[in-house]
């Protein structure tokens, strides 16, 4: 069986951020299963990441003031 690659602090951060490939994610998950203290810390930060993704979402649906659309009229066709 192939030796499992080391899991670095950057890997854990990318895991928290959801920026890992499926393969690498599986390796990090396996690592965390055997490191429960680290797993709890990572899980807390993953929950935080999930909440952060929802922050300010109401601002994306409010109407944009008309001054912005006026500025876009300066674009040349």
């Amino acid at each position: 069986m192939a030796q499992r690659r080391q899991v670095s602090a950057d890997d854990l951060q990318d895991f928290i951020e959801g920026r890992l490939s499926a393969e690498r994610r599986g390796e990090v998950e396996a690592y965390l299963q055997s490191h429960p203290a680290e797993a709890r810390r990572v899980e807390a930060l993953r929950e935080q990441a999930g909440r952060l993704r929802r922050l300010g979402s109401e601002m994306l649906t409010e109407p944009v003031p008309s001054q912005f659309l006026d500025i876009l009229k300066r674009l040349k066709n």
Partner: protein, 183 residues
Amino acid sequence: MAGEEKSDEPTPVGVHDALVAELPHLRRFAYYLTRGSERADDIAQETLARAVKHIGRLRPDSNLRAWLFTIAHNVARNEARRQRRSPVDPHTDLADLQPAQAQSQDSAIELREMHEAVLRLPPAFRQTLFLCAIEGLSYEDAAEVMAVPIGTVRSRLARARLALERDLAGSGSKGKAAEAGKE
């Protein structure tokens, strides 16, 4: 404030509609940059005016959102220099800010607390957290927006997450995040 100049180049096909679609994201970035100051929309409009003027500099392969954010970052920084004060407005009344609506009461409170804690972060942490964790930009794009190396984005992001976690764990006592890391 926003200059009246026309574009320097013809507008590439589709760019007008793409810009319209980016406006809410640009306004939200300006909001977080200024901690919800009333200057947020001025900065967003000045950013858009510069983008329109220099639309010919937009490369076909570049990320439009990151390009706009790069301009906004510079506009906000220049404005802060001109006014000889930090882009953080210490007089912003956090109680006036409206955090995200959520389905359950519990998560609405949680989101509100998080929103306020993010606004308490030092500017570099707040901006990094916004770009990477809220907008989901790549580290490369976030590095370009803030004109810092990718390693700096990574380290700021990790420290911002810990500062936020500490602030939220500290049962809402204000100002902890700000103490956690001035750069």
